[in-house]
């Protein structure tokens, strides 16, 4: 039972971080119709800048906003300098250009910072916390969950309840109509892109101590983030949250509980071979199944 609870929390934590990436990805995709493969690279930039700022500022909590601001600025430069000229192009050109951006940003980080940097959680949050049911749970992961939930709530309110959110949603369901209604689309796009990058940076800073800050970390999380986007339905924030939690929990439980489950049902030489393979494909199976059942994702944006 405690194992189940612990892994459930791990899944929630991973899912919420995936949501931070997927939210930006799905809005950029839904509103600007841009496939941005370099989204994960912004997450990497955020983590590297944070790891660089911690020794300089002497505090994680000063480095975090610094990294968020720097990443958002990088995003603004990218949007104005390159991505803006890609909105009108077909998806293939966008794929090639943003793939090129991955290569450039990866090596740029390597040139400036080296291929990896140490980043650890603040001293005070390094230990475990006692939870009910006798569960000892790492304080850092608990904090990630809290921040993730808070940001998810804020994002939900922002998108669903504010004027800016209404503009973004209008853009997601009908871009031409919303620009005909007088929305300053270029400025909205820049702002949305920077905002998405800021969310990536937060995820990068928070996950850095758990997953290591290194070149290529962006590609590792890009695929799960894209899966979240299509599971939820392109352009849908609520869908992204649902998809992120599903992917996070299925992946985490798959990795830990599946093997134990198979041990009960199968002879050990089978289960130790099939367990890891099944665990690795659990989230892909989940996505394939959902897309066959609902080809537009779980919670598609209306009007598409």
């Amino acid at each position: 039972m405690t194992l189940f609870l612990e892994q459930g929390l791990n899944g929630l934590q991973y899912g919420l971080m995936l949501f931070l990436l997927a939210a930006g990805l799905t809005i950029v995709f839904g509103v600007m119709d841009l496939i941005n493969l370099a989204h994960g690279s912004l997450y990497m930039v955020g983590a590297f800048v944070a790891a660089w700022l911690v020794p300089i500022t002497g505090s994680f909590w000063l480095a975090l906003p610094g990294a968020v601001i720097v990443t958002a600025l990088v995003a603004v430069v990218l949007e104005l300098g390159l991505l803006r000229s890609l909105y009108a192009r077909d998806h293939l050109s966008q794929v090639l250009a943003t793939f090129a951006l991955i290569l450039v940003l990866n090596d740029a980080m390597k040139m400036v910072f080296g291929s990896d940097l140490p980043l650890s959680a603040p001293e005070a949050l390094a230990g475990p916390v006692a939870l009910p049911l006798g569960l000892q749970y790492p304080a850092w992961r608990l904090l990630i969950i809290a921040v993730g939930l808070l940001l998810a709530l804020l994002l939900y309110l922002l998108v669903e309840k504010t004027r800016v959110g209404a503009l973004v949603r209008a853009g997601a369901s009908n871009r031409r109509m919303s620009s005909a209604m007088g929305v300053n689309v270029p400025r909205l796009f820049t702002a949305v892109f920077a905002f998405g990058a800021a969310l990536c940076a937060v995820a990068g800073c928070l996950l850095g101590p758990l997953l290591a800050v290194q070149v290529g970390m962006g590609e590792n999380i890009l695929i799960p983030a894209f899966m979240v986007v299509v599971i939820g339905g392109v352009g849908s924030i609520r869908g992204a949250l649902l998809g992120a939690l599903l992917v996070g929990v299925v992946d985490t439980l798959g990795r830990t509980l599946l093997q134990r489950g198979l041990h009960i049902w199968l002879p050990p030489q089978w289960s130790s071979a099939a367990g890891p393979a099944l665990a690795s494909v659990a989230m892909y199976l989940l996505m394939a199944g959902i897309l066959l059942w609902r080809p537009q994702g779980l919670w598609p944006v209306r009007g598409r």
């Binding site: 995709f29 496939i35 390159l82 000229s85 890609l86 192009r89 998806h91 293939l92 050109s93 794929v95 090639l96 250009a97 793939f99 090129a100 951006l101 991955i102 290569l103 450039v104 990866n106 090596d107 740029a108 390597k110 040139m111 590609e219 695929i223 894209f226 899966m227 299509v230 392109v234 071979a273 099939a274 890891p276 393979a277 690795s280 494909v281 892909y284 199976l285 996505m287 394939a288 897309l291 066959l292 080809p295 537009q296 994702g297």
Partner: protein
């Protein structure tokens, strides 16, 4: 038109002469690079059929490349060296896989299709990783090669080079014929407007599945050639970054033009080779070159040649 025919003729002549030129210049080392380019050119051409001609963006094409390479590697590890057997098994394995994956994936479109093809390829990647008997995550080293009929008369590396060249020539000839045929017209019609094509009475699903399987078969043959060339297969042959590389080659070279896959494979692999000789940051500069192509040559490298006329 004549300029293009001349260019193509010169390219083929150069490709035919290359091994002997390299041998004369004492630069045999580059023959394996040239063979690798041919293998990737075949795989990229097969993806070009899927992507450029039929409009299906697959991010799982490495699945078939990898399956082909594993089919050949596993047969060799069982001591089977007959060309006919290798061809038969490779085609059977990749064809059945493409039929199954295509039948499921083609129910979706657009980015959903991209992701579902990726998912199937990743599942095979993890499957290959867990196959302990066939090398698992360490891959499988080949102790022998497929026996090719004219192998005895040529030095070692040349056999594979000329085989790959012949396969590539056959693929390009097939693609050119296809593009001009009624079938090619039908497929391009459904690429440009699927709804309208369906309204005209085209069985669009069947056409798409057919193309998907064809592309898978050719990629499988490329994979088998690649395995024999490298003398080694690993699960990385199936990884999504491999699919991504093929995709980048096709878009870079020019999706939907006959030479797109070849141009892309040639450009990307040569670029890597040259840059890696001068700098450790070769992917940085490759990235800038790719960006320049996107911005200034929207139809890819093959489009540059075409536009000049």
């Amino acid at each position: 038109m004549r300029g293009r025919a001349l260019l193509a003729g010169a390219a083929w002549a150069a490709a035919l002469a290359l091994p002997w030129v390299l041998r004369a210049a004492g630069a045999d080392f580059y023959l394996s690079l040239a063979s690798r380019i041919l293998v990737y050119a075949i795989a990229a051409t097969s993806l070009n059929l899927l992507l450029g001609y039929a409009g299906m963006v697959s991010l799982g094409h490495a699945a078939f490349f990898g399956l082909g390479s594993y089919a050949s590697a596993v047969l060799l590890s069982e001591g089977q060296q007959s060309l006919a057997l290798h061809l038969l098994v490779t085609l059977a394995v990749t064809g059945l896989a493409a039929l199954a994956i295509g039948a499921v994936s083609l129910r979706t479109r657009g980015v959903y299709f991209i992701m579902i093809t990726l998912a199937f390829a990743q599942m095979l990647f993890y499957l290959a990783n867990s196959m302990k008997g066939w090398g698992g995550d360490e891959g499988l080293r080949l102790r022998s090669r497929v026996l090719l009929p004219f192998g005895a008369d040529l030095p070692d590396g040349m056999v594979l080079y000329y085989t790959a060249l012949a396969v590539l020539a056959a693929c390009l000839a097939g693609l050119a014929l296809f593009a001009r045929s009624r079938a090619g017209l039908a497929v391009r019609a459904l690429r440009d407007d699927e709804l309208r094509a369906e309204a005209l009475g085209l069985p669009t699903f069947r056409w798409k599945l057919c193309i998907f399987v064809m592309a898978g078969l050719v990629a499988g043959v490329a994979g088998a050639l690649g395995a024999n060339l490298q003398g080694y297969v690993s699960p990385n042959n199936l990884h999504w970054t491999q699919s991504g590389t093929l995709l980048v080659m096709v878009i870079l070279g020019g999706a939907g033009s006959l030479w797109g896959g070849v141009a892309g494979a040639l450009a990307l692999l040569l670029l890597e080779e040259v840059l890696a000789a001068y700098t450790g940051y070769w992917s940085f500069w490759t990235g800038w070159v790719l960006l320049a192509v996107v911005l200034f040559a929207p139809r890819g490298l093959a489009g540059l040649v075409r536009r000049r006329e």
